[in-house]
């Protein structure tokens, strides 16, 4: 039975679940979009705040499904934070599109909930539940603007592929369960402890699990959907997929691997290395001459997940820290980049084409600077969080002696430089005749979005210049 502490510790999850219900109720009250937006913002904030109240209880196990330690709370924090930021951006985006997106917030809460459950799950069952709550919510979100071809196309693609990969995941889990007799990570780990070589059945299962999770992470070779879905989905949803969903899946995969101490096994290591290397290279090359900014970011996210996989490799405390730090930097940066796209998008134009950024610096310098900062951070240039993140990853890789991998990371990130620079160059080149500043349709939300963006940018720079604080925080994460 659940105890009082259980409830307390699960309060963020419960709050998120409740929020979705509350929003649903509010919708039934026929409140305006703005009201609902504000309410959901507050609810997000409350959920986020609740994270701080459970600090003292950590680590805490809700047997047998969930584990709440500092790492998972941190990841939850990232997820809820992303959800909150996305909800802020959503208003402008959907108001521009003139759709009434009230149910959107319900789905957003559900997705956030799913992601959070993923982040704290320690059992195949909760993993599956969390994953599916997240995914099913995303189906709807991606296809949310159902009148538009791209949305429907993206939704369909995501649906079929996600279900397809989910079945792999499930089959893999079933096989592993068959082998080990447990669905909890810890029991799997204990049954594996005796083994020097992985049993073939387990290996097959693990491989299939990787297919499922790899799909969600969009790592090569399961990456093909990424660009289409990123492009087709409404931009705030893309931002959510790119940040929260990735963070959650990554966290659970990482936890699983650490718990079963998967890096003992050369084979698993080899597979992860292959995936990482392929992701880094292919992701970066794919965006090389891409002209659609959303697709660029999609492909670049493939590469970034590749980097993160490199951070996995050592499988020690350093890995956790590196992953946490890089993930933070990545989430913040990605949100910023997509935030700019949202702010720039108009009714029929999602500000996708790189040409729509030409001369942006001379027209809206604040937006251009923010986007530049985020792109530089993605490229890993100093003064930004991305640099310190990359440093962390390289450090953990080099410390464990993964020389060649580190070298490949470096080389591929050089390729990556090119397309980030291309966007930046486009922003700084040329001068469109300055458009007469039309009155913003939603001045309040515009300002709010801008403030959020500025805040994110400050975070990017802050973590880049003075990362000691975040590092200190991250350094407390241990193996549970």
């Amino acid at each position: 039975m659940l105890s009082a502490d259980d409830f307390l510790v699960l309060s963020p999850i419960i709050l998120l679940a409740a929020s979705s219900v509350v929003v649903m109720l509010l919708i039934s009250l026929k409140l305006s979009h703005r009201m609902i937006q504000v309410c959901s913002l507050i609810l997000f904030a409350v959920s986020f705040a609740s994270l701080f109240f459970i600090q003292n209880l950590l680590p805490y196990y809700v047997e047998p499904l969930l584990v709440i330690d500092r790492f998972s709370v941190f990841i939850m924090g990232l997820i809820i934070f992303s959800g909150m930021v996305v909800s802020v951006f959503s208003y402008i985006y959907f108001e521009e599109k003139e759709e009434s997106p009230k149910e959107y917030y319900v789905l957003l809460f559900l997705c956030t909930l799913g992601a959070c459950i993923l982040a704290i799950s320690e059992n195949f069952i909760s993993l599956f539940l969390g994953l599916e709550i997240l995914t099913v919510g995303l189906y709807a979100l991606i296809a949310y603007l159902r009148g538009r071809h791209h949305n429907i196309e993206a939704g369909t693609k995501y649906l079929i592929l996600a279900a397809f990969s989910s079945s792999f995941l499930l089959f893999g889990m079933a096989l592993m369960y068959l082998q080990t007799g447990g669905m909890e990570f810890s029991s799997i780990a204990s049954s594996l402890r005796k083994e020097l070589e992985l049993p073939p059945l387990f290996l097959t299962g693990f491989g299939m699990l990787l297919v499922g999770l790899g799909f969600k992470l969009a790592v090569v070779p399961f990456h093909m959907w990424t660009a289409d879905v990123y492009q087709g989905a409404p931009t705030p949803v893309t931002a959510f997929i790119a940040s929260a969903s990735k963070a959650a899946v990554l966290a659970v995969l990482f936890r699983f691997l650490l718990q079963i101490d998967g890096f003992r096994f050369k084979l698993i290591l080899l597979i992860i290395i292959c995936i990482a290397v392929a992701s880094m290279l292919i992701g970066n090359i794919l965006s090389l001459q891409q002209r659609n900014v959303k697709r660029i970011l999609a492909y670049s996210s493939i590469a970034h997940l590749g980097y993160l996989m490199v951070a996995f490799l050592p499988g020690n405390e350093m890995s956790i820290r590196a992953v946490s730090f890089y993930l933070t930097a990545y989430v913040i940066t990605t949100l910023t980049a997509f935030g700019i796209m949202i702010v720039l998008s108009a009714k029929d134009d999602d500000a996708e084409d790189i040409e729509s950024y030409r001369g942006l610096f001379w027209q809206r310098p604040e937006l251009a600077c923010i986007l530049t900062a985020s792109l530089l951070s993605l490229a890993g240039i100093p003064l930004t969080a991305g640099f310190v993140g990359k440093f962390y990853i390289l450090a953990s890789g080099v410390a464990a002696g993964f020389w060649v991998i580190a070298l490949i990371l470096v080389l591929s990130s050089v390729i990556g430089l090119y397309y980030y620079l291309r966007i930046i160059t486009t922003m700084f080149s040329g001068t469109k005749p300055s458009v007469t500043t039309e009155a913003r349709q939603h001045p309040f939300y515009y300002m709010l979005s801008l403030m959020v963006l500025s805040g994110l940018t400050i975070l990017i720079v802050w973590f880049g210049v003075s990362p000691a604080g975040l590092m200190h925080f991250v350094n407390d994460f241990g193996l549970t």
């Binding site: 369909t156 693609k157 079929i160 592929l161 397809f164 990969s165 792999f168 073939p200 290996l203 097959t204 693990f206 491989g207 299939m208 990787l210 297919v211 790899g214 799909f215 090569v220 070779p221 399961f222 093909m224 959907w225 660009a227 289409d228 050369k266 084979l267 080899l270 597979i271 292959c274 292919i282 090359i285 794919l286 090389l288 001459q289 891409q290 390729i415």
Partner: protein
């Protein structure tokens, strides 16, 4: 007196600075006065210092003035120190004295020139550099002057820069001499490591102790230094720049390409004679180069039609004599010939300049003619200069200086009959082309209308130089004929005496032979070019003679040779590689990634079924890896 030394190069430097910085704002007269005045002041200082030097010889045998330390690294401490001894005194005197005359001449010569400030500035800078060269107490400072005169030569050859040829001639001069300079620089490196210093006195002092005579290192060093000298002095094989250098104004040719700069090589070898003495092989090479150059250049001079080119080849040839003298160990004779040559060659060039100026910039001798009457002063002075060049016996200075060389090329340690014979042949050729030049230019009928006549400012320097061309020889007379040794007394403290081979005697006979050769040369030219010009004209119908003519006219086709062997390949390669072949490699990488992008981008076909296949292939791939491994 020591502390006056800095004034000698100081005045020209000041002149240069004033003219460069403020030249545009000064009146023409002020510019001329500044230009010529600074050199005259310098010459006066030289006279004072030189007088003192000769009257009260300093105990150390030299004046030294250290201005500052250039730099000091690991005990290597080249200083900016001026050093005057007998050898440099001769050079300093010749340089300042002749330069002063040439500057005065130039005031008139450049009267029509708009950019005379630049001219005088460059000339002053040149004198400064040349003085630094000869006054330098260490080889690094000498090298500064050495390269500095190269720069000035570049500036002045290309003075009339609007014509591209002049610019190219200037560039050629600079680059060819640079080849020699580079070798010389390497020589300096060796000296630094051998002696830990570049101080000339110190090196001269310790070289005989450290090196055995004929040792490899000594030879190497001597050869490298020689290379520098060959470049500057236009000796084989680095001689090709000098005829082209005549593109500059005539005073420039007089000053730089006849009197002073081209003798820098002579100075260097005389200055570093200790090292050359340690390498008999190099000395022999010097002698041979000198002999070869004097013949090659002399023969070329015979067929030239541009009066300045005749003089240019003659300069090469005369410096060949000096090299010959240096090669056979007749140090003092070489320097003496340098001085005499400076007088009459400056005179010849200035006079030629006056003629050219008077004839509307006509350089072709065959379009001159008959100037004997119309330009009497020029005629007489030119005649004296020519006589001196041809070494007309007894009355001209050139006779005495060349006679010494001829004698030593036979009689000295390093001498040999072959060298002597070459020198003699050279004397014949010299007399011949000089006579030819005189006859064509001044006799016959006038072919070009006479323009402006030279004024006093131009003729007075000519007259002074003419006097020196006649009388300067008397300060050094052969021991069997007057035995005056004023000159070698000055240099004897610096330069070693010449050893005479034990077995030779009968100097008088050789002198007679030399005299006869000269006269024969004059007579031959007289016959061919005055009495019976038909011989030459008939010769022109013969194909082989014409070929020979062309061959000689082009200076033995050295230009062509270098052009084919060095210039063209380098330029061809450079142009071939203009876009940098290495860059292609990086472009290749770019191209490859571009291809990779296109290939990968093709996989993103948008087709769901294809994506499913991709996912499946990925899954199969992972499972296969696991099963195989």
């Amino acid at each position: 007196m020591d502390n006056l030394l800095w004034l000698i190069p100081g005045f020209p430097l000041v002149g240069f600075l004033i003219l460069t910085l403020a030249g545009k704002n000064m009146s023409r007269l002020a510019r001329g006065l500044t230009g010529a005045g600074s050199i005259c002041l310098s010459a006066i200082v030289v006279l004072i210092v030189g007088w003192n030097f000769l009257i009260n010889p300093p105990a150390a045998g030299n004046y030294t003035q250290t201005l500052w330390t250039w730099f000091e690294i690991a005990n290597f401490k080249p200083t900016i120190t001026l050093y005057l001894d007998g050898l440099s005194l001769v050079f300093v005197f010749v340089i300042t004295f002749i330069a002063a005359l040439i500057h005065i001449y130039s005031i008139a010569f450049m009267a029509e020139e708009a950019d005379d400030a630049r001219f005088f500035a460059s000339m002053n800078l040149f004198v400064f550099c040349m003085l630094i060269l000869v006054l330098a107490s260490n080889l690094l400072l000498l090298y500064l002057g050495w390269e500095g005169v190269g720069l000035c030569s570049y500036l002045l050859i290309g003075f009339w820069y609007q014509k591209s040829e002049n610019g190219y001639a200037a560039r050629k001069a600079f680059i060819i001499t640079r080849v020699g300079d580079t070798a010389m620089a390497i020589g300096l490196f060796i000296l630094v490591y051998q002696f830990g210093t570049l101080d000339i006195v110190a090196i001269s002092h310790s070289a005989p102790e450290m090196w055995q005579a004929g040792s490899k290192i000594a030879t190497l060093c001597a050869l490298l230094l020689l290379a520098g000298g060959l470049g500057k002095s236009a000796q084989l094989p680095l001689q090709t720049w000098l005829p082209d250098a005549m593109a500059g104004p005539s005073p420039v040719s007089a000053l730089i390409h006849a009197a002073t700069m081209v003798t820098a090589g002579v100075y260097l070898i005389a200055r570093m004679h200790v090292i050359f003495q340690l390498s008999p092989v190099t000395q022999m090479i010097i002698a041979i180069i000198g002999a070869a150059t004097l013949i090659i250049a002399g023969l070329s001079a015979i067929v030239q039609y541009d009066i300045k080119r005749v003089l240019a080849y003659s300069t090469m040839s005369q410096i060949g004599y000096m090299f010959l003298a240096l090669g056979v160990g007749a140090w003092s004779a070489a320097v003496f010939h340098f001085m005499i040559h400076a007088f009459f060659k400056a005179l010849l060039f200035l006079a030629a300049g006056a003629i050219i100026e008077a004839l509307h910039h006509e350089h072709n001798m065959f379009k001159m003619g008959g100037l004997k009457k119309s330009l009497p002063v020029i005629f007489w002075t030119f005649l004296i200069g020519s006589a001196s060049l041809a070494a007309l016996p007894l009355i001209t200075a050139g006779f005495y200086s060349k006679d010494q060389i001829l004698w030593y090329s036979w009689a000295s340690d390093g001498g040999s009959p072959l060298l002597w014979f070459t020198a003699l042949l050279g004397a014949f050729i010299t007399a011949a082309y000089t006579t030819r030049m005189m006859l064509i230019t001044f006799w016959g009928e006038a072919k070009t209308h006479l323009g402006m006549r030279p004024g006093k400012l131009m003729t007075i320097p000519l007259l002074i130089l003419a006097v020196f061309s006649l009388v300067a020889g008397f300060i050094e007379l052969p021991h069997n004929f007057g035995h005056v040794q004023l000159f070698s007394e000055i240099t004897e403290k610096v330069l070693p005496g010449t050893n005479i081979r034990a077995a030779v005697s009968g100097e008088f006979i050789y002198q007679i032979i030399a005299v006869l050769t000269t006269l024969a040369g004059i007579y031959t030219a007289y016959i061919l070019y005055y009495r019976k010009p038909m011989i030459i004209i008939n010769l022109k119908h013969s194909k082989s003679a014409l070929g020979l003519y062309q061959f000689l006219l082009s200076g033995w086709r050295f230009d062509k040779l270098y052009d084919t062997v060095f210039v063209r390949p380098i330029v061809y390669l450079a142009n071939l590689n203009k876009d940098d072949v290495i860059d292609k490699f990086y472009q290749g990488i770019t191209w490859l990634t571009g291809r990779a992008y296109r290939a990968l981008s093709f996989t993103q076909s948008g087709s769901l079924r294809w994506y499913v296949m991709g996912l499946l292939i990925g899954a199969i791939f992972i499972l296969t890896i696991q099963i195989i491994l």
